[in-house]
């Protein structure tokens, strides 16, 4: 029974990683850049909910809605101001370093506004825990998180494959120049990707802080990096890959904490990444396209 409970908690944590990883993987797939500020967008989302719900005492739904709006606008703004001007830059390293800069900028702005003290985040999930048998309890947060993750996955897959904007994303992810020759507005497509990724970051942030209710300016940083690992693990650029990578990572982390050592859990997670990359460098679902010239 204990094992099952650890497993379920792992899946729940993994679902959060998966939602964050979707943002990483979509941005990488389309803009071919690693947005290291992605984790900090999560933190901004959490502070938005905290401000609206805990400080202003406004309804939870409004807090979540505002958090999604703030993160979406933030993500699109970061892309337009910091990344877009560098898109023609000779080295992709330039954008990467800029992303790290944006990450520190957001952390330090939060530090300035909210201070370094840990804020107690109140869970926004209204569902009560479900008891199965005597020992197994599934929290409301777990149920909502896993459901949210599955719904997001399905909607995103449908969006990418069935809508015009989604098709544009596929084209841009393969070849920006050719996509433009099809009449696709590349800049707008990239903006849309950042908007979706950042909105997902807001959702992930709310779920993460509801399950682990302590909020600091660095709250988003570690989950952000782990989600990046999850995205690479599943095959970066792949939507189902992000999902699978996230869930597996969450399970490995939680089981390591339970059975091996809670201090070593992170080290184990990163070690598994290294092993997977050595065996299958493109990740679990990473595509390797045969090219003919």
């Amino acid at each position: 029974m204990a094992f099952l409970s650890y497993l379920i908690n792992g899946i729940s944590l993994g679902a959060v990683y998966a939602i964050i990883a979707l943002g990483y993987t979509m941005v990488y797939g389309i803009a071919k850049m690693l947005n290291f500020a992605h984790g900090d967008v999560i933190m901004v989302g959490c502070y938005t909910v905290f401000s609206v719900v805990s400080m202003m005492h406004l309804p939870v739904w409004l807090g979540i809605l505002l958090s999604i709006v703030v993160c979406t606008v933030l993500g699109v703004t970061i892309e337009a101001v910091a990344y877009r001007p560098l898109r023609q830059a000779s080295s992709s390293l330039t954008v990467l370093i800029t992303a790290i800069g944006v990450s520190y900028l957001l952390q330090n702005l939060a530090l300035l506004i909210f201070g370094a003290n840990t804020k107690a985040f109140t869970s926004v999930v209204p569902i009560k825990a479900v008891k199965i048998g005597d020992k197994l309890t599934i929290t409301g947060e777990t149920i909502v998180t896993v459901l949210a993750c599955i719904i997001i996955m399905i909607v995103l897959t449908l969006f990418v494959n069935r809508t015009k904007a989604g098709r544009a994303m596929l084209a841009v992810s393969e070849d920006k120049g050719a996509a433009q020759l099809m009449g696709i507005n590349v800049n707008r497509t990239i903006s849309l990707t950042f908007a979706i990724g950042s909105a997902l970051a807001a959702v992930a942030g709310v779920l993460l802080c509801s399950a682990y209710p302590s909020l600091t300016p660095y709250t988003g940083s570690m989950p952000g990096i782990k989600a990046f690992v999850a995205a690479v693990f599943g095959g970066i650029g792949s939507i189902p890959g992000a999902f699978i990578g996230g869930i597996i990572l969450g399970i490995i982390e939680n089981l390591s904490k339970a059975y091996i050592s809670s201090q070593l859990a992170d080290a184990i997670v990163f070690m598994v990444l290294i092993i997977v990359l050595m065996v299958k460098p493109t990740g679990i679902l990473g595509k390797k396209i045969q090219e003919k010239v």
């Binding site: 098709r167 009449g183 003919k292 010239v293």
Partner: protein, 236 residues
């Protein structure tokens, strides 16, 4: 009136001037060839016309409208299609999805379906392989796909960049036959080619480029017999 008119075009990559002031016109229904050695600036000209690069000087007029600073994605719906160098088909997408991508700017589903039928009739091989990923096609088939994809936008002019590059002689002939047919159907063609003999044999007029400038221009048949052209580009 000229369909496409380029005046005093200058293009810079950083400090290097790749195109140093060229003028040319393409009239409705013509096949125009731009020929010249590697690095003469042929591809740069096509990229500038279709809006992938912004020129530093000069004007480009397409069907009476100034498109010099119009972004590339808007030019497609004005009736210009561009078959890029090296095909650039979407490798992981199926042949059908590639063709659909070509009709991205069009809205009427019936019309798109009609154009798709037309493309399949013209390229039966694409119909046979419609569900296959484009990356698994041979070079010649990919060239056909790139041309079919361009036709899907229902263009009035097609820009073609090195369609014969890397193809076997049989495919080269086939591709040039297709271009000729397309022209007979009323499509205007601006063709960039290193295979000068082939290009001149199907073109109405041609411009010979040398390091960013037009060195010679005129009737394609006349150029084919021009001594300078023969020596420099036809290997005679």
């Amino acid at each position: 009136m000229a369909m496409l008119e380029v005046k005093n075009l200058h293009v810079k990559y950083g400090v290097i001037e790749a195109i140093k002031g060229i003028d040319f016109t393409v009239n409705k229904g013509e096949v125009i060839a731009l020929i010249g050695a590697n690095g003469a600036g042929k591809t740069t000209i096509l990229h500038t016309v279709s809006g992938l690069i912004t020129p530093s000087e000069g004007t480009i007029t397409f069907e009476g409208k100034d498109i010099t600073r119009t972004p590339g994605h808007k030019i497609v719906s004005m009736g210009m299609a561009h078959v890029p160098e090296g095909r650039r088909v979407f490798q992981s997408l199926s042949v059908l999805d590639n063709l659909k991508m070509g009709a991205f700017t069009r809205k009427d589903k019936r019309e798109i379906a009609d154009t798709l039928d037309m493309v399949y009739t013209r390229f039966p091989r694409l119909a046979e392989r419609k569900n296959q990923p484009a990356g698994t096609l041979s070079g010649g088939e990919q060239q056909m796909l790139a041309m079919g994809r361009a036709l899907m936008s229902h263009p009035s002019i097609i820009l073609m960049d090195e369609p014969s590059m890397g193809l076997s002689p049989i495919f080269v002939n086939e591709i040039f036959d297709i271009i000729k047919e397309e022209s007979k159907r009323g499509t205007t063609v601006l063709l960039v080619e290193q295979n000068a003999r082939k290009a001149l044999s199907i073109a109405d007029r041609a411009y010979v480029l040398e390091t960013g400038r037009i060195a010679l221009s005129g009737d394609a048949k006349t150029l084919l017999n021009n001594d300078e052209v023969k020596k420099a580009y036809l290997g005679e």
